[in-house]
Subunit: 382 residues, 2 copies
C-alpha cells in the first residue's frame, strides 16, 4: 500500500448551537480543507456522522454534503461505527488512497447535536434488545465502568477529575474549541452536579455542533499541496464483545489493546515513541482506561498520569493537547476529524501556545459505543 | 490494485416478516457465507443497512453482527448511501482487499423492515430541509419521474408494467425470493391499486426482511476457497445534484451514466459485453431509466426492451434474472448483497431454471435516494 498524507485541514469552530444546518457545516469544513490544500475538487468524499437520522431527519449525508460543497458527481459514502463514525470515515479514506483507488480524497465529519435531545439516539450505540431495553444508556454504562474502577482500584478522590482540568486548560490554545477554562480545578469538577453517579457533569464531554475535514493524497505527491504534510502511518479497527455484560473484564478495553497493537505494528513504531495521544475523552473514566489499554499505564494506574501531570503538554504522554472531546467539544461524528486536524497542527509545529514541544509522532483514537469498536490512527511528520 | 474475487455467498430467504431480529439475520447470512467459502473467520466485516436507527432503535450494527456471528475482535464498520447502502459496503470491502489491507473480508447486508413503518425513514434519503419538508417521499419523487416520463415519451399503456411481470416470473427460479408469481400479467399490474399515482402497488418493490453476505479474497487465492470464484472486475460510485429540483433533466440519471462509464472503463469492457444486468428495480420507472442511463436503450426507449422481451433471460439484456428488488424482495441495505449472491450463482452456472445461458459478465447497480448516488459493480467468471 502507498503511504498516505494529510495535505489539507479544515475546521468549523465548535459551538453549542450553530445557526447553520448540518449540510452547510459539513460543506464549510470541506471547502476550508480544499482551500488549505489549494485544490478545487477531489475524487471522493467520505463522511462521518452519527445522529442525523434522528436529529435532522436526514440520511444520505455524504452525497448531500458533496452537493452543498459544489462537488456533485464525485464518489460519496458515509462510514459509521456509532460514536467512532468520524474515525471510521478516516479509515476508509485512508484505505482508498493507500490502495490506489483514488488520488485525492476528502474525509469530513459533521454533527449538529443542538437540533433536539441526543441522549436516546446516542444510546443506540448499545444493544437495543439486550442493553437499552434494560435501561442502559451511554451515560449509565460509563458510570458503571467508573464505579467499578473506583471500587476496584481505589484511586484518591478527584483523581479522574484531573483529566477534565487538563483538557479545559489545553483548550485555551485552540481557537476552534468550545470551552477555555483556565480556572477549572479538581474541586470544581467534583462539585459539579451528578449526572449519572459517580459521573458528574464535568466528567462528560459536552453536547455541541461542529464539522471538520482533512484532504488525503499519496505521500509521494504531498508537497504539491502543502509545505507541512503529515503522514498517516497506520490505521486499525478492532472490536470487542458487543455487550458490556459479555466481557469477562469490563475494565479492560480489549478492542483498544488490539487496535493499538495493530496500529503500532503497522506503523513500525512503539508506544514509547508516541509524542502525544489524542484519545476519546468523552468521559474522564474513558481517558484513564484508554491510557491503560494503550500501554501507557498499568491496569488501575492510568489516573496517576493525570494526577502527576504526565498528561500535560510537557509531560511524558500529553493527551487532549488542544482540548480533547471534553473541552474542544464532542460533536460526535466530527470529533475524530477535529483530532486529525489538531494532530496535523501539532505535527506542523503550528499549535502556538498549545504546541507539544518537538512533536513528531501522534496517536489518535475513537471509541464506538462503550468500547465495542476502537479505531486508532498513528500520524507522523511527513 | 489486486484483483478481488467473491469466494463465498450466503443468503437468508427474503420474507415479509422474519421471526429473528436484525442481529440474527445478519449473523446467519455471515455464517452461511463463511461456510460456503469453507472458512471460520475473516479480517474485517463491512455492513450495509439503512433503517435500523429507526426500526430497531439500533446503530453500530456492524460490530453487533460481528459479535453475534462469533467474530468479536475483527474490524467492523458500516457503510451507507441511503437505499444503496449494501452496495456501499461492497465497495469498501472491495477496496480493502484490492488495496491489500485485508486478505479475507465479509460484506453483509441486513434489513428488517417489518419492525415498524419504514416510509418516513426511507424518505430521509431525500433532503430533509428542502424536499421532505415540502412533502416529498421516495414514492412521490418516483411517481413524479414516472409522470414526467409518461408525458414526455408517451410509451404505450402498460409498457412499464412489463418490468414487474418479468421480475415476478424470474423469481420463481429463486428459492430465496419473497414472491413467485407466474400468473402475473400486465393487466393485473395495471389493475393494482394506485399508491402514489401514476405508481401502482405492483410498480413498487415490497417491504420485507432479509440478509445476504459475500466473502471477498484476492483472486490469486480464490481457488483455495471455491471451485467457482467470481471476480469483481470493477466498482464505481457517482453522485448527482442531490435534489431532484436541481437537476436540469431529471429523467437523465447522470450519476448512473457516470457510474456505469467508470465501472466499464475500470473493468476494461463495453456495455455490449454485459450478459445480464441486476439493476435497482425499486420502481418500474427506475428499471427503465437505468437501462437508458447504462446505454442499453436510447432516452425514452428503455420500455421497449421490456415490451419486446429483451430483458428476459433469453433476451439481449436480461435484468432482474432471479426476481430483482421487485420479486426477490428489497430489504433495503441487503438488496445489493442479494444481487451479488445471485450474480455469483449465475456466473457459477448454478441458477438452474433461472440460468442466463452462457453468462460470463454481470453488471449490478444500486440507487441511493432518487438517484443522487449510484453504485455500479461489474462481475465476471473467475
Amino acid at each position: 500500500m502507498r503511504r498516505v498524507s494529510i495535505v489539507g485541514i479544515g475546521q468549523v469552530p465548535v459551538k453549542q448551537r450553530h445557526e447553520s444546518g448540518l449540510r452547510k457545516l459539513g460543506a464549510a469544513a470541506v471547502r476550508a480543507a480544499l482551500a488549505d490544500a489549494g485544490i478545487e475538487t477531489v475524487d471522493a468524499l467520505y463522511a462521518g456522522n452519527m445522529l442525523s437520522d434522528e436529529l435532522q431527519g436526514q440520511k444520505h449525508v455524504a452525497s448531500l454534503i458533496a452537493d452543498e460543497a459544489g462537488l456533485a458527481g464525485i464518489e460519496a459514502l458515509e462510514v459509521k461505527a456509532a460514536t467512532a463514525s468520524g474515525a471510521a470515515a478516516l479509515r476508509v479514506g485512508y484505505l482508498t488512497v493507500a490502495g490506489g483507488a483514488a488520488e485525492r480524497v476528502v474525509v469530513v465529519g459533521a454533527e449538529k447535536m443542538s437540533d433536539g435531545a441526543p441522549t436516546t439516539a446516542l444510546a443506540k450505540s448499545l444493544d437495543a434488545h439486550r442493553e437499552v431495553r434494560d435501561g442502559a444508556t451511554m451515560l449509565s454504562h460509563n458510570a458503571r465502568l467508573m464505579q467499578l474502577y473506583l471500587e476496584r482500584y481505589r484511586p484518591p478522590a478527584g483523581a479522574l477529575a484531573h483529566f477534565a482540568v487538563n483538557a479545559h486548560h489545553n483548550a485555551c490554545a485552540n481557537p476552534n474549541a468550545l470551552y477555555c477554562n483556565r480556572g477549572l480545578t479538581v474541586e470544581r469538577v467534583m462539585a459539579s452536579r451528578e449526572i449519572s453517579p459517580p459521573l458528574r457533569l464535568l466528567d462528560c464531554a459536552p453536547i455541541c455542533d461542529g464539522a471538520a475535514a482533512v484532504i488525503l493524497a499519496p505521500a509521494s505527491e504531498a508537497r504539491q499541496y502543502t509545505t507541512g504534510p503529515v503522514d498517516i502511518l497506520s490505521s486499525a479497527v478492532a472490536t470487542d464483545r458487543f455487550r458490556l455484560a459479555d466481557r469477562p473484564e469490563p475494565l479492560r478495553l480489549v478492542a483498544a489493546e488490539r487496535s493499538v497493537a495493530l496500529a503500532l505494528a503497522r506503523a513500525g513504531v512503539t508506544a514509547a515513541e508516541i509524542d502525544f495521544f489524542e484519545l476519546h475523552d468523552a468521559f474522564t473514566i474513558m481517558s484513564c482506561l484508554a491510557l491503560e489499554a494503550a500501554g501507557f499505564a498499568r491496569p488501575g494506574e492510568g489516573w496517576r498520569l493525570a494526577v502527576e501531570g504526565e498528561i500535560r503538554r510537557e509531560g511524558s504522554i500529553p493527551i487532549t493537547t488542544l482540548g480533547g472531546l471534553k473541552a474542544r467539544g464532542h460533536p460526535i461524528g466530527a470529533s475524530a476529524l477535529y483530532q486529525a486536524c489538531e494532530a496535523v497542527i501539532q505535527l506542523r509545529d503550528q499549535a502556538g501556545p498549545g504546541q507539544v514541544p518537538g512533536a513528531r509522532l501522534a496517536m489518535m483514537q475513537s471509541v464506538g459505543g462503550v468500547a465495542a469498536t476502537i479505531i486508532t490512527h498513528i500520524l507522523g511528520r511527513g
